[in-house]
Amino acid sequence: MTRREPPRLALALLEHFAPDGTFLAGDLIEEYRHHPSRWRVWCEVLAAIARALRRQDDEIRPLHLVDLQPADAIARTRNAVLRPKPINLAASPIAGTGGLAIALLALVATLFMPGVWWLLGVALLAGIGLGVLLIALHRRTIG
């Protein structure tokens, strides 16, 4: 049996990442009724998202020129250099997903491999230790 609707996740991603993606999403839904190919839908969506991301990079961003005194410029530069930068302890490439990934891992471990909890505990402690070490090194660099 073939579903009459294209993958919802694909359409949601398309409409989130591609400007004017709603028109293409409508076309994909219409086309899917004639040629129900999930593979084709995903190809279309990924290509459209790639194009949209590339177009964002190509946009010309105007320069924000301000009347800045030399003393202000020096102060701003000093602040920018010396401002402590946040450290991504979860080592996640996407901001805000580190905690979620850990929760998911814990759930999977509890359901399928409860025996590995000790290993997770050790890994957690090692992670905290590494974090503390990174913070200490970072502070020393600033100082």
């Binding site: 999403a25 409508g26 076309d27 219409e30 459209a48 194009r51």
Partner: protein
Amino acid sequence: MPRHLLTDFELMILLAVLRVGDEAYGVQIAREIEATSGRRVLLGAAYAALERLEKNSLVSSSVGDTTPQRGGRAKRIFQVTPRGLRAVRDTREALVAMWRDVPQLKEKLT
């Protein structure tokens, strides 16, 4: 005014929009190209070309009605502008001029 010559895909898109008529939107344009030329077209690629053409004022677009067949999403309907029509003619003239007096092609045509 300098002549605006189109790429082969842009030319196909504009011709498809002209062939479909008043209700030329993504699916119809892609189907028209596939049916007429046998070239398979990604809808996203067609939209990218149409956006480029619209930026150059060769097509204009308007938002059509929403339909249940499209999950309640609207169509984006395209029309060829007079400038676009001129670009199609210019491109055809340029291609025909290139075609002329090529012995290998002449033999095949006769």
